[in-house]
Amino acid sequence: MTRTAKSVSIAVTVATALALTSCGGSGGDQTPADAKQTLTIWAMGEEATRLRTIADEYTKENPDITVKVTPVGWDVVHQKLVSAAAAGTLPDMAQMGSTMMGEFIELGTLEPVDTKAFDKNDFFPATWNGNVVDGEAYGVPWYADARALYYRSDLAEKAGVDGAPATWKDLRALAGAYKNKAGATWGMDLQPGSTGAWQAWVPFLYSAGGELLGKDGKPALDSPEAVKALTEFGHYFDAGLSKKNFVVGYDVLKDFSSGRVPMFQSGPWMVQNFAEQQPQLNGKWKVTPVPADASSTSWVGGSSLVTFKDSEHKAAAQEFTKFLTNPRSQARWYEISKTLPANKAAWNEPALKAGGESLAVFRKSLDTAREIPPMAKWNEFSVMIEDALEKVARGADPAETAKKLQKSTESLVG
């Protein structure tokens, strides 16, 4: 063997060995679903403890599959997942927050969902669509957090306003009445910039008929609808109905309960928070779908269940995902965690039918709500929106801000 041939053959061997070891996890050693195995799943915050309960129930029915739930804090999960992806130490499955989806799809670490095993029509469209890139779904919706409007019904009565605000006009009127007739300091809570402010504005954008990304996949943030939504958002600050100043860590619940800020938008978890932290408010507040302009369209957050490409337990992961997303478990999950089922059929289960008025509002919102499109650079995209909102809240011209926002986000997509 000549020297070159020798080194070539060594190179080939090494390359093959490398290729084999790197693919070993994803291709070769798949454990069948009926073999004895341990399935590792990362879950966030409170969900981890609750998931353990339901996972134990699953193991009782399927003794071969032991589910190990690893709790990870919401604040660190993003970094932990990225580090694990870099180190190749990802678990088999994870709970994935809706806005993180795009990034991990881009990283190429997620196993596409087998559409023969899961039917997209079983789920609310927004929850499913938030996981789809180029026609391929990468996660199965687990629970859905639609945003809605919470308001103090007792103070509305005091201010002489009947019924829930259904339109933007009603909303303005109610905010004004709160401030002028019911002694509230502010009419409504809208976060004027800083992390998370986009959450307050997107309902305005969607209700005006606008979108974050247009049909061409480019940002649509300078559309007339987006400008209209920015203008409406800005009005609350111009008119002194919302506080321009925001301090990190602000908890609206305290001010809501004292009546200083009698209106805010948030997700379904607040129902539970009210019951636990402000029981004296019982009967003094109501929740209603986000007020409509062209339509009443909220957005959906929440979490999906993903399986990682390198997992050796994909079959078991699929079984467990099926279990967690079937109507019966989803209803059980609602009982444990009070988060809303992403599976439509689960809403016919008794636990949800008995959920009362607030739950019906969220059910209604979920039907019309839309997703945050999965974007690899969502973090940056959202910060751009937040910067623009801060400018508008401080009096900048909405149309001009929208133009700048459009320009600064164009490079982040596609």
Partner: protein, 331 residues
């Protein structure tokens, strides 16, 4: 007098592994080249073995990241490269030229400069005053006050944030309450573009003055009483004694405190991170915070690395300048 003045810088050098001691060693070797080969001889093997734990830790956790960051700063290392680091492309100085055009970076640079210009003199001043008072003025409860002033240094930033949010809260905070007693209205410190940064400076000074105080106390106690006595016999007043005796003899301590405090303030991160998140309108965005966001929120690792090196150069330049300006000119 000269013995004490010489003693303090020795203490300082011992705390800095790369100080003059190691440099002196290099100089000696250069004078006697044949000894160099002996370094790896069997007699030295034991020494090398003893240093292995340190060396391996240093190389893995210090030297490697430092070099990797430098290399990364010339690449477009981003999210995609996390799973496949070697596919990052070299883009030369692009990251550095982009920094100049980055409005937020320029803003962060200015804010950090303000932090340093306001914070460092205040920290040193407060630390020095506290130390002088504790050294001579207060006899009773000395330990109590020492612990009191030092406590913020060792308190977790999260707890500090809770306390300061309460202090600065415009509705029911400590300052608002006091202002209310006087019939005044407290501004919303953290939400105001002009007041947020000064508020954080005050908080940072409060957190850091304990360190300065402890160091100054040690320096003050090293000043021999004879010198003070001599000054007093010569008729020096309190202020004259302070200016003529205390400050000059504290110079070595002063240099150390100034350098460390300045480095601390150039790297300021925790205060804006927990209190304002850089807002409102980036008025409290610092270089470190901007870097953190670019690196860990957006995964622009290459860009963040470039920023880290710019900050490093600034720290180095400022430190060298201070060493030059504050060095002991009496020797």
């Amino acid at each position: 007098m000269s013995t004490t003045a010489a003693k303090a810088p020795d203490d300082r050098d011992r705390t800095r592994p790369t100080g003059s001691a190691s440099r002196a060693g290099d100089g000696k070797d250069r004078g006697a080249p044949p000894r160099r080969r002996d370094r790896l001889s069997t007699q030295n093997l034991a020494g090398w073995l003893y240093s292995t734990p340190f060396l391996s830790l240093f190389l893995t956790f210090m030297a490697f990241p430092v070099v990797a960051t430098l290399v990364m700063s010339f690449t477009d290392f981003g999210l995609r490269n996390v799973t496949d680091p070697f596919s990052a492309e070299f883009i030369g100085l692009d990251n550095y030229t982009r920094l100049v055009e980055d409005e937020k970076f320029v803003r962060a640079l200015l804010n950090t400069g303000l932090f340093v210009v306001l914070g460092v003199p205040l920290t040193i001043g407060c630390g020095l005053v506290a130390a002088v008072l504790l050294n001579s003025g207060i006899d009773r409860m000395r330990t109590f006050f020492r612990v009191g002033f030092y406590a913020p240094v060792v308190t977790a930033i999260v707890a500090v944030a809770v306390i300061w949010r309460f202090v600065l809260d415009p509705a029911e905070g400590l300052i608002a309450g006091l202002a209310g007693q006087l019939g005044l209205k407290s501004p919303d410190f953290l939400a105001s573009e002009t007041l947020a940064l000064p508020s954080l400076v005050v908080m940072a000074v409060w957190r850091n003055m304990g360190t300065a105080m402890v160091l100054f106390l040690a320096g003050l106690q090293a000043i021999p009483t004879e010198v003070r006595e001599a000054a007093r016999i010569d008729g020096a007043g309190v202020l004259q004694e302070f200016r003529g005796i205390t400050v000059p003899l504290l110079r070595p301590t002063m240099l150390y405190v100034a350098v460390m405090t300045t480095i601390g303030f150039l790297n300021v991160f925790e205060e804006p991170f927990v209190m304002t998140d850089g807002g409102p309108s980036d008025s409290t965005l610092t270089i470190s915070l901007h870097m953190y966001r670019q690196g860990f929120d957006f995964f622009h690792m290459g860009y963040a690395s470039a920023m880290a090196y710019v900050l490093f150069v600034i720290v180095l330049a400022v430190t060298l300048l201070q060493l030059r300006l504050l060095k002991d000119k009496t020797r």
